[in-house]
């Protein structure tokens, strides 16, 4: 059925998307790679020269670099821990027969649709603010001293905000997976006297394994790029206490005008993201056949 004519028509239809994405990927990435080998500062562009590996060495020897890599890992793992465990629990709860299930679902997924700057500012000012936030009100109610979240626990505060944003995503995907669980199998296990915990470990968890993997991988991709939440709350501080790799590169490029250094950092970020991407591609690729 696929005549030569339809085959060439198909090629023509595919071409624009492929060419656009090819340009979008190759040109900026190639430029980043090139800049990463230059001494190039926007404050002094006349002095641009070839730097060799200097930018990479400089980035590598900067203590802020390791702190930011560490923060990136803590941020990603912390959010994953909260969202996956919380997501499994909430998904199982919503999956139970309850009154107003549709409305509960809507309430639970809502935070996902809140844009990052709004989410971060709501938490910063309405919830975590040391004098006017709800947490402070609760602390005062119990006679305790309010916590200055962003000064005392900057990274933890950001983890909480980001986890709130991504909990709905994990919940929704795990719920979708849970709803395809075979009810009769579960019932058979129940009739055979399998306790709830064993049913969860041997039936529910294995069934959700694939969805959990997908949640972890997709969230990791997005969590590596957390930016706006840091910008509007802590600005990466105090010091570099809540600076992740994305934010460190942003600082180098936009605040220090260090094009070469920011480009070298960008290449490192690409390498980091690639580790995750390879696993994700395998998980998705398997599903394509």
């Amino acid at each position: 059925m696929a005549t030569r004519q339809t085959a060439s028509l198909a090629r023509l239809m595919r071409a624009p998307a492929i060419i656009l994405l090819l340009i979008w990927m190759l040109v900026p990435l190639g430029m980043t790679l090139y800049y990463s080998f230059l001494n190039y500062n926007l404050l002094n562009p006349a002095n641009t020269s070839w730097a060799g590996w200097f930018n990479y060495q400089y980035f590598y020897s900067d203590p802020a670099f390791f702190e930011s890599i560490w923060n990136t890992l803590v941020l990603v793992l912390g959010v994953l821990l909260i969202t996956v465990c919380g997501g499994i629990g909430i998904a199982m709860l919503i999956d139970k027969p309850i009154f107003g299930q549709g409305l509960v679902r809507i309430l639970v997924i809502s935070p996902f649709f809140v844009m990052p700057p709004v989410a971060a500012l709501i938490w910063k000012n309405m919830i975590m603010h040391p004098s006017y936030g709800v947490f402070a009100d609760i602390a005062k109610f119990f006679g305790a001293n309010p916590v200055d979240w962003f000064a005392q626990f900057p990274l933890l505060s950001i983890i909480l905000i980001v986890a709130w944003q991504w909990l709905p995503f994990a919940t929704l995907i795990l719920l979708t997976s849970l709803q395809s669980l075979d009810g009769e199998q579960m019932e058979a296990a129940e009739m055979d006297g399998a306790p709830a915990l064993s049913r969860f470990i041997y039936l529910t968890l294995p069934h959700m394994a694939r969805a959990i993997t997908v949640v972890i991988l997709i969230q990791t991709i997005f969590l590596l790029g957390i930016y706006a939440e840091i910008l509007v709350t802590t600005n990466g501080g105090p010091g570099f206490a809540s600076t992740n790799l994305t934010y460190l590169i942003y600082r180098a490029a936009r605040l220090n005008f260090d094009i070469g250094g920011a480009a070298a950092g960008g290449i490192i970020a690409v390498i980091l993201a690639n580790f995750v991407a390879i696993f994700l591609m395998r998980a998705v690729g398997k599903n394509l056949d």
């Binding site: 994405l21 430029m31 997924i109 709501i122 929704l172 009769e184 997908v214 790029g225 994305t246």
Partner: protein, 274 residues
Amino acid sequence: MARAVSRNTKIGYTIAAWIVALIIFFPILYTIITSLKTEQEAIAGFDLIPSFSLSSYETVQSQNNYWRPFTNSVILAVGSTLLALIVAIPAAWAMAFSPTRRTKDILMWMLSTKMMPAVAVLVPIYLIFLRTGLMDTRIGLVMILMLMNLPIVVWMLYTYFREIPGEILEAARMDGATLKDEILYVLTPMAVPGIASTLLLNIILAWNEAFWTIQLTTTNAAPLSAFIASFSSPQGLFWAKLSAASTMAIAPILILGWFSQKQLVRGLTFGAVK
């Protein structure tokens, strides 16, 4: 198969689920409540009953010219989505209906472009925008947002198109339908729901994008995400005002989002979880 559950158990689950749901929704709810307070009330301590004053909404619109970022958000989200659809529909169509040996590789490669961290190309994009005068223009951002979401759009459309059974096409051909008839009367009606949900999800993603919009705009082209981010260093009393601006920024997309829950799973997992 619905299992019989005693009424008490159901009530127990219901209470637990509603408590969890209300805790998760609370920050949004409290923002909406605070937006209806006066600034004095907003900082007067915890109170769930506002005075239903609309003054903060008026202040945000008169002082901050709220409609410009709002218009920009609409133009950026809708513009980049339509542009992406124009490019992606033919591509997804071709890959779904006349696949070649390389189709799978092409799709995987498209997905891989989505994995590229935005910050890795911040330097070149920023410099290109500075030098070509695209900085702080809507057209520049529309292009960036379009390219950013193009892989997701192609993927979503592809998974929808693949579900259109080929037999229907054959049957139409047997009945003497021309290619034009085929596309107009057979394929389009079946493709429209998929295209609509792709459109919806992509508008949400573009509306909430907050890296490029902050990097590449200052005032003229700044959408709501960049506008709200500028509230991070406020002067004076501003809790109610911030809440009003936030409520207006998230309300449209919250409502769209509620309608597109199912598509969300499919779109964001690239069809890996359905």
